[in-house]
Every structure is written in structure tokens, then in C-alpha cells.
Amino acid sequence: MKDKKLKLEIPNNIKLFLPALVSLFVISIVTSLFSEIFLTSRNLMNVLNQATTTGIMGVGVTFIITAGQFDLSSASVVCLSALISSDLCANFGLNPYLAILVAVAIGVAAGFLNGFLVAHVGLIPFIATMGTMNMFKGLSLMYSKSLTVHSIPEAYTRWGSTRVFDVIPSGIIISIILYIIGYILLSKTVFGHKVSAVGGNREAARLAGINAKNVIMSVYVIAGFCYAIAGVVLTGRVGAAYPTAADGCELDVIAGIVIGGTSMSGGRGTHIGTWVGILLVAVINNAINLLGISAYATKFVQGIVILLAVIVEILRSKAAEKRL
């Protein structure tokens, strides 16, 4: 227990996503050696743009995972909120700005329902959100009767389709703003510390005077808000809303978060890590394309990366416990 020598102390939260950051650089450099297209601004913007949906969802899901929770319903909320709101303004003449508010209201309501089921009814997050995921998916299908919403007013779609300075897609700007807000909220505020505390040890947090139920409700509501924004941006980027939009994204987001070093057992999470993790997944997919490897390999590689990330986390926490 003696102090041996003064080491350069890397802050705990940077340690979390360091492996992902290093991998991101290594993969980027290697890919750029083999493909001259990779480092072009067009390709990079493309990579970022494709990552915006999972990226914006990730802002919210990072809160959820850090609070020791889980959410399988994220993608279905993205889809439902986008579908109903874009339909209201495309086919029923609702003001596009009000339509976006409707999307947010749907996202927040969905988050409220998830939070209520987990915090107050006491369901396991995995089960509760598996239930709501199917409910929301079903609602999307019932509402749309499997049809796609077209000709959505520009005031709605431009949030996902404009290019700022003709280069940077608007979705990227929106996601960066949300990441900054998310980062500040989770790392710098009392609320953020409460989220980590509840995720780290819910009973200890409760006995320290933290209202764990409110915290859990809040993270689901924040996440619901993010899903709605992700839905609007996605709809704008694609130019249409359809009932299978964002299908499967719920797991991609969690993959990115795990790769970014946020602990799946809760308590430790960082938005920078999520951003790096989701970006890493996008870059790997892009690299596979550019290097001419079969697109079928994408999922396989993603699986390996997830496992590596989790193994790194386990090794790290074992090392931490051993250093007594």
C-alpha cells in the first residue's frame, strides 16, 4: 500500500475508452495506406453521416447503460416517432415544427413508459424494454399499414438533409451538439454523478439520499428524447419514413457503447467513449467496403470487436481489483 513512484495518472474516464481510441487511429491509418479514398473529406463525411442515427441514439443510451439499465426499444422508438410525426406533416398538413415536437413528445412518452416499468413496477430492464420494443414496432406497423411516408415537407427533412457550408451534413452538427450536452450533463453535473452512482450501486445511492427511481425515470426520458431527434434526422437524411427504419440499430448502439468502454454493469460511462466507439464501428464498416472485403464480413468483424472490447474491460477491472 506504499506509494511506489509517481506515475502519470490518466483520469479514470479516459482510461475507459483509450483502447477504442487507439484502435480507431490504427485502423484509420492502416486503411488510408491501402485506400486513397479513405481520407477524402467526402468519404469521411459519409462515414460520419452514416453514424448519425446510432450516434444520436447513443447519447441517450449512454445515460441508460451508465445508470445500470438497458434498452432494447430504442430503434423502435426512433421509427415510431419519425413515422407518426412525418406522416402528420406530409399527409395531414401539420406544421413541420409542430410535427417535430410531436416526435419529441412520442419519444419522451415512450421513455417515460420504459422508466415507469423498470423503476416503479420493478421489471428487469431487458424484459421491460423487450416488451415495449415489440409494442412500438407493432404500433408502427399498425399505423403505417406497412406503407412508406413520402413527400415530407422540406422544413421537416432539412434537419437531416442539409449540408452546412455545403460540406458538413446537418445530422453531424446536431449529433455533435447533443454529444457536448450529454457529456456535460453526465460528467459535470450533480445529476450525472447521481446517474453513475445509481448504476454503480443502487442501494448505496439510495442510502446516500439519492432518489434512485427518479434517476432511472430520467435516463429513460432523456434517451426517449434522443431517439426522437435521431428519428427526425434519419427521416430527413433518407427523405422518407418507413416502418422498418432503424431496424436492428438498438444493438448496434449498445455495441458502440461497449466498445467505447462504458461498463455494461453500470456506474462508469462516458459520452466521448460512446462517440469513439460508434465511430470505430462506422470506420470498420467503411474500411471493409473500401478494402474490397466481402460486405458479409461486416457483422462478423463487428462481433469480434465487441468481444475484444468486453475482454479488455474484464481484464481492466480484474487488474484494478488485484492492485490491492
Partner: protein
């Protein structure tokens, strides 16, 4: 007994952990048909010794011989196959399974097809239960039977593995008086059947009643083994602590108790699922001890006052003013702070920093107005680290990397934050070594001297007698006796705690 061959022979057994020598060259023999008592303070090495014998830990040095053959026990399974069975203090009953399935857990008899042979399972269990005298149907679900019956099941489980050596770690800690008597009758029977039994207990009267010889451990060393009739309570305690018991506790300044001010806390008729009709008053500057056996409801009283349970009935006044305590948050706001007996489960976020763990309930105090001021947090934490002598290189260190004693100091720092009116301390010295205990005693005295009330729960009787001004004894979820300082003795406390007439 000298010419008899030992069942179990331990020589120079040592076990070191990083930074701690938990066992330091322990020697003893255990013979067939005897009960060997092992006594020692918390942290003297009893649990480590058991774990080395059962194969949970591998000793760092020394030898273990079973029936004259040196063995190297690598795992708990190996310990069992060598004939060493342990009945731990914490019962390992699975409450969803029935008695027979618990007894043969992991070893249920099967048909050749792999299907469970329930007929044989229950017949075999019946035989064992008849042997140890549990008449209950072996199909009874284990969660539905009393603790003492569960313990019989645990003993049955141990015996079903056909051991030579039975180790019982604090077997009476959750038993009532009659149940203890029944257990002793069974131990007597097993002893006569030729088992070698190691009996570990904090209760002196039990040690004197049931054991043939007693080994005293202190600081990981085997101090002495004598026949029980050659020991006295005083000589055992002396050997356990090696210091004058009355002087190990720091004493409060005279006149610390403020008799002419309102009570720091008054609890009237506190009742809920866990405790019944609790009434107590504590003066500012007073240390009130809450004694009783495990399960008597001591921790639950503290948790109830702290608002950790729902649906409390009764009234609580702090400093003369009625307060409404709905949850821990309002308890903290009313000037009540709480230290749980289970620091890992109830208090600490192990994978977070010292800093966060220290100010966990008080983040708001460091927010200006929205953002947490890291510099202020760091400054406050550094102050706490030096004031409470927490050994660490940085405030960013994860608490999982601290020793138990240092973790406890972080929590002592937390509970004293903001100088609350009332301290509820549950087993503040559990599982920490003697030198840190002294520091914690001093902190407790300091709390009282600064004019706060302290309600102290501890299973360590000398500790409660040494520190408390007054002791309330609990039994069956309620308070049964009040002892003033001059009436305090281990015997008196135990007498009330166990329902009397035992001594």
C-alpha cells in the same frame, strides 16, 4: 490422547495476502471424538484458517496432514473428498429447493439414463435426517423451515459427504437458546460417533460447555492450546487480546453528555415489518449501545430510523423537534447519518473513486449552481484523506483497490461530513484490523464529544461495553432491557440477549 493418531494435523500453517500475514505458523492437532474450540478476535485468522483447511485458500507455507498423510488441498471439492466438511456461518441453503435436494446438491443420485432417482434421493436423505434427528418431511421446501432446521439440513449435507472432520463456524449465531441446546446435543452425539469437530464461537459460555480443548488465535498466530478445563474465561480473553481489556478503548471527556439540553434524538413507538415498538432517547454527547444476537433486529432499528424501509409507524424527534423521515434523503436532511454493517453492499460504489464515494450524498454542496466544482471536491477530499489518515496515492483511486480498513475510513469521513446531530453506526469495526479499530474508536469518541448522539451496534461485546454509556438489549425485534454503564458486563448483555437463564 497423546498416543492416539490425529485425524488432522496442522504444522506451521501460514497464509499471506498482499500486505497482510493473515496466518502465521499455526500448529494444532484434532483427534477423533473430540471437539476443539478455536477462539480469537475478529481478524485473528479464524476464517482464513478454515478456508485453508477446506481448500478455498491455498496456504503459503506449512503442512496439513489428514490421517497421517500430508495433503495439498487445491479446491473445496478436494477438501470434501479428503473428509473435511465445513458448515459456514452463512448458511448455503437454497431456499427454492426441498430438503433432500439441498442435502445432495450437485450429487443427486441418478438412474443410468441421467434422470434423477427421487426415490433413492429421499430415502438416503431420510436416513441422514434420522441420524441427526430432524423429523421433517424431506420434501419440505427449505425456505419454509426455521433457521435452526436449515442448519440441521446444512449439517446433514456435511455428514452426507462422509467426513472425518466437521468444522462449524459460529454455528449458534442465529440460534435461540433451545435451538442451541439441540445443536449441542447433536454435536455431543457426533463426537461420540468418532467425528473430529472444530467449533468456532465468540460465545465463551458455549465454548466452555461443548469443547474439550481450546486453541486461541491472535494476529494470525496460534497462541496456545489447552484442555478446556485448564482455561478460564479471563485467561482466554487475555490470550485473545494480549492487553488489558479495559484499557483498549479511549474514554470520553467528563461532562460530554449534555443533560440539560433536549435529547439529540427521541424515537417513540417505531414499528414496521422488521422491528416492533422501539422507544429510545439519546442525549447529545452520549453513546448508546444496541446489543443483541444476530437477527435480533439491531441493524433494522438503525435502518428504520434512517428511513430505509417503507411504512414506518411511530415518531422521531431530532433536537426536540418532530421530523418526518420518509427516506434516507430526509433522514440526512434532518441531521441523521448512517453507516451500514455491509459497506460493500450498502455504502460503497466499489468501482468509483475515493472522491466520489466520500461526497456521494453531498454533491449538491459542491455544485455552483449546476456544475460540480471539481476543485472544491478535490480540496474537501484531500482534507478528509489527511484528517482520517486514509492511505492512498490519489483521491482518484478506486475504492475497490483500498484495504477494508481504508474503505471504512472513507465512510467514516462521509458520515461525519456536515457534523450531523445523530450517528447511526452499524458494526463500524467489522472486518478491519486492530490498529484501524483504534482509530475508529477515537472517531466515535470524537463524534460524541462534539455534541452529537451516537447509536452504536456491534457484535463485539467488549467493544460495546468499552464505548457505550448505556446499552439497550434487543431480542426478537424489540428492546428487552436497558443497562446503565455500571451494570454493563458481557454476561448481563448475553443473558438478556438470549432470553436469560443460560448462565
Amino acid at each position: 490422547m497423546e498416543n492416539k493418531k490425529a485425524l488432522l494435523s496442522v504444522r506451521g500453517l501460514s497464509k499471506s495476502f498482499p500486505g497482510v500475514l493473515a496466518l502465521d505458523g499455526v500448529d494444532f492437532d484434532l483427534f477423533s471424538g473430540e471437539v476443539l474450540g478455536i477462539c480469537g478476535e475478529n481478524g485473528a485468522g479464524k476464517s482464513t484458517l478454515i478456508k485453508c483447511l477446506s481448500g478455498v485458500y491455498q496456504p503459503s507455507a506449512g503442512s496439513i496432514e489428514v490421517d497421517g498423510h500430508e495433503v495439498n488441498i487445491q479446491s473445496a471439492e478436494e477438501g470434501i473428498s479428503l473428509g473435511i466438511s465445513v458448515i459456514y456461518q452463512e448458511l448455503s441453503i437454497i431456499s427454492e429447493l426441498d430438503i433432500a435436494q439441498n442435502v445432495f446438491l450437485g450429487r443427486v443420485p441418478r438412474y443410468k439414463t441421467g434422470m434423477i432417482n427421487f426415490k433413492k434421493l429421499h430415502a438416503d436423505t431420510r436416513k441422514i435426517m434420522d441420524h441427526i434427528g430432524l423429523a421433517m418431511d424431506t420434501r419440505t421446501i427449505a425456505g419454509d423451515i426455521s433457521i435452526s432446521a436449515q442448519q440441521m439440513v446444512e449439517i446433514g449435507k456435511a455428514i452426507s459427504r462422509d467426513p472425518k472432520v466437521l468444522i462449524m463456524d459460529e454455528p449458534t449465531s442465529s440460534l435461540g437458546h433451545d435451538e442451541t441446546e439441540r445443536l449441542f446435543a447433536l454435536i455431543e452425539q457426533l463426537k461420540n460417533e468418532g467425528y473430529g469437530i472444530i467449533f468456532i464461537s465468540h460465545h465463551m459460555e458455549e465454548v466452555f460447555k461443548i469443547t474439550d480443548r481450546v486453541l486461541v488465535l491472535r494476529d494470525g498466530r496460534g497462541i496456545e492450546t489447552r484442555a478446556t478445563k485448564d482455561w478460564t474465561v479471563d485467561s482466554i480473553v487475555q490470550a485473545m487480546v494480549d492487553r488489558d481489556v479495559s484499557n483498549q478503548f479511549p474514554q470520553k471527556k467528563e461532562g460530554a453528555i449534555r443533560y440539560n439540553e433536549p435529547y439529540a434524538i427521541e424515537v417513540t413507538g417505531l414499528t414496521n415489518r422488521y422491528v416492533h415498538d422501539i422507544n429510545l432517547k439519546v442525549r447529545k454527547g452520549e453513546i448508546l449501545g444496541l446489543a443483541g444476537i444476530v437477527g435480533a433486529g439491531r441493524s433494522e432499528v438503525l435502518k428504520s430510523i434512517f428511513g430505509a424501509y417503507h411504512n414506518n409507524m411511530g415518531e422521531i424527534k431530532v433536537d426536540g423537534n418532530p421530523v418526518k423521515i420518509k427516506n434516507p434523503k430526509s433522514a440526512l436532511a434532518s441531521g441523521i447519518s448512517f453507516l451500514s454493517e455491509d459497506r460493500k453492499k450498502d455504502m460503497l460504489i466499489l468501482m468509483d473513486s475515493i472522491k466520489t464515494n466520500y461526497i456521494l450524498p453531498y454533491f449538491k454542496d459542491f455544485a455552483k449552481p449546476l456544475f460540480v466544482n471539481n476543485k472544491a471536491v478535490e480540496a474537501a477530499t484531500q482534507k478528509a484523506i489527511s484528517q482520517f489518515n486514509i492511505k492512498t496515492t490519489s483521491s482518484e483511486k478506486l475504492v475497490v483497490q483500498l484495504s477494508g480498513g481504508n474503505q471504512q475510513k472513507v465512510l467514516m469521513a462521509r458520515v461525519t461530513y456536515g457534523e450531523p446531530d445523530v450517528y447511526l453506526l452499524d458494526e463500524p469495526t467489522r472486518g478491519i484490523d486492530v490498529s484501524v479499530k483504534q482509530e475508529i474508536y477515537k472517531e466515535i469518541i470524537k463524534m460524541a464529544e462534539s455534541g452529537s448522539a451516537v447509536i452504536l451496534v456491534t457484535s463485539d461485546l467488549p467493544e460495546i461495553i468499552g464505548l457505550a454509556d448505556r446499552v439497550l438489549v434487543m431480542r426478537d425485534r424489540t428492546i428487552v432491557a436497558e443497562l446503565q454503564k455500571n451494570e454493563l458486563s458481557q454476561e448481563a448483555v448475553m443473558n438478556y440477549a438470549t432470553g436469560g437463564s443460560q448462565l
